[in-house]
Amino acid sequence: MVKIDTISEDNYHLIQVNGEIDASSSIELDAALKEASENTSKILIDLTSLEYISSAGLGVFISYLEELKKKEVSLVIFGLKEKVHEVFEILGLQHLMNIVETKEEAVKAVNEA
């Protein structure tokens, strides 16, 4: 269903999400975000290989927005396929989250934050 890898890079944590996130698998995204938010102030999420996300997965991202803001942890998401990007846009999440196209842009954005 979903495979999540967290890689500790120079000054940020990179979370790579592969597969599909729904109500049965969103707990794994939650665990990865929780761990990263406790161990770094810069988080990159690579959604290049994410094929599907439902409200359960979006809800995980949304639930961390306030907490990350308070803890001054910056979060940048990149690599969304068009069909996945559309779901973020339906909820207007592009206004609430930092979403960019490439990893290079994401690294730049997270270091400027």
Binding site: A23, S54, S63, E66, E82, K83, L96
Partner: protein, 138 residues
């Protein structure tokens, strides 16, 4: 032309439901983005019914019926015998409320409402029925 899937109330069955919906809609000339949105809307309703109405009880079942009405309309009917949902009592939260509360749920029905053209909840012969209508070409 109607297609029906009857499946037990387990969250692990959501993937099978999504495959069923995608397989039945393959004959319609939808873009990948549009198809993905319809699959998502059905998945959201089914997840709500499995989790909240039937408490993930695998002895309970939900039925997903897809009705292709010509080339103009698709109707999805999702039936179960769990706790019924009253759409009239549902107040859509704002995104600000959801973000500030830090909760993980609350956006599923918002997605369904924004994707579909019509959502109806009713009760008939001990079944709770959720009917989603999508007009094609919109």
């Amino acid at each position: 032309m109607k297609h029906k899937l009857s499946i037990s109330c387990s969250k692990s069955n959501l993937l099978k439901i999504r495959h069923f919906v995608a397989d039945q809609l393959v004959s319609i000339n939808l873009s990948e983005v549009e198809l993905h949105k319809l699959v998502l809307a059905v998945d959201e309703v089914c997840a709500n019914l499995i989790i909240h109405s039937n408490h993930c009880n695998p002895t309970k079942k939900i039925d997903v019926i897809i009705d292709l009405i010509g080339s103009e309309q698709i109707q999805f009917t999702i039936k179960d015998k769990g706790i019924s949902f009253d759409l009239n009592k549902y107040q859509e939260p704002s995104m600000n409320e959801i973000v500030s509360s830090g909760r993980k749920g609350g956006v599923g029905l918002i997605l369904v409402k924004r994707i579909m053209d019509k959502i109806e909840f009713s009760t008939e012969k001990n079944y709770n029925i959720c009917r989603l209508t999508k007009n094609l070409g919109k």
